[in-house]
Symmetry: C2
Subunit: 253 residues, 2 copies
């Protein structure tokens, strides 16, 4: 697919059996952006994606008002959900650095970002992910062309909550500065299946939390002796996993 301007069309707005030649409507903020910022007009080609595997090349058919565009599908594709990948469970922080991590998680192909309340968390995550978080993911995907967005979630009940979801994953790790140096994070161990990596909040995990998570089946792992900021640690895991996936794909190609 050529590099076109990308617009997000939520999954529920894609007709189930959409084919080339069929029509869809892009409305709201995305249509306004196309019309007023990019001066879109009939004949222009754009890319639509839903962030859950669907994307397509479309041509603008007609414009209705300031926030509605009728589009005809030219070329459609569906990418299956990746079989594996890294979901991060991040200790909650009241921090502007979260926005930044949301953006980077898309670029680096995270499969999920969960937020949990650790002992040293400042404040408490909301009951559900905020719409502004999804918006941040979408903006990042427009930039880098990611087809799948990370799933967002908020985990109640601290380590107990993490223990409850642990069985949804094939590999379970917790970054812990008390981990033995021999337990250096190995992205190759996360190459097969779904992985959940727990990251502490600013200030790190308490020993009792690291122990509770070990009992719940999480392996302790380390990023080295230097204390990294929480968002650096989170990003570091994603970088290592992303690169390892590329290496593996290239070997298989």
């Amino acid at each position: 697919m050529p590099r076109l301007n990308s617009f997000h069309l939520p999954t529920q707005d894609w007709p189930a059996d959409l084919r080339a030649g069929d029509h869809v409507t892009l409305a709201g903020a995305e249509a306004r952006h196309l019309l007023s910022v990019l001066r879109g007009k009939p004949g222009d080609e754009i890319r639509l994606f839903d962030g859950a595997g669907r994307e397509g090349q479309f041509v603008v058919q007609s414009v209705q008002g300031k926030a509605s565009v009728a589009l005809e599908a030219l070329l459609l594709s569906q990418t299956p959900r990746p079989a594996g990948g890294i979901t991060l469970a991040i200790g909650w922080n009241k921090s502007s650095r979260r926005d930044w991590l949301l953006e980077k998680a898309v670029e680096l192909g995270a499969t999920g970002l969960l937020f949990w309340r650790a002992s040293r968390s400042q404040g408490e995550p909301p009951a559900e992910p905020k719409p502004t978080w999804s918006e941040k993911l979408i903006q990042s995907a427009k930039q880098c062309g990611a087809i799948w967005l990370p799933e967002l979630g908020c985990i109640p009940s601290g380590c107990q909550g993490l223990a409850l979801i642990a069985t949804n994953y094939d590999n379970r790790y917790v970054l812990w500065e008390g981990a033995a140096p021999s337990r250096l994070f190995k992205p190759e161990e996360l190459a097969v299946g779904r992985s959940l990596v727990v990251v502490g909040p600013e200030g790190g995990l308490e020993s009792a939390e690291a122990e509770a998570l070990a009992l719940a089946g999480f392996q302790h792992t380390s990023l080295g002796p230097r204390p990294l900021r929480w968002e650096t640690a989170a990003l570091h895991c994603l970088c290592l996993g992303y690169h390892h996936t590329l290496l593996t794909q290239r070997e298989q190609a």
Copy 2:
């Protein structure tokens, strides 16, 4: 050395033959921070570092006014400059993301951050690194305990400027989205010696720049098919290099 609050004492303020039992003076903003924010008083122990290999554990002897503290050295150490490491030469951008990269470069052990003007740069780097950049590095080092700070520099004259400094490095790479997929970035190739990695500005390098740099001895390398933001690409290299260094150190231990 125990985990103490860290303060920066510039290299020129360390007496050449400082020994345990000798005295130094911490003045200015760092002393004010110790006195007014941390309520430092005689008997408190702190860590001083110069960002160029020197550090020490000191005890507060006396306080003069609001911005001067006399300290006695308890324990001193000097860490040699790392024999290798990654210096990034980053295409200039007018961007708030630079501050963020300065912070992360310290955490991830970059040996240098240079800024150069690429064809697609917005604006022009200053003739010399700004003092606020050094300040950002120092703040980051206080947090993570880094002993060596990255060297900062501004490179005039675009690719020509890069070609002139290339011979100072053992390994020379340029991240280029046109690089063949087989030229995937391999941190192990940067394990020995000093490495210079050129990163494009927002919008990437022009083909002519990638070719000029190849003629100047820079190897094309890729981080994969997805277009990453410039600061993500920069950080990604540092993460991969940092982790590879840890792996190597562990194998040698």
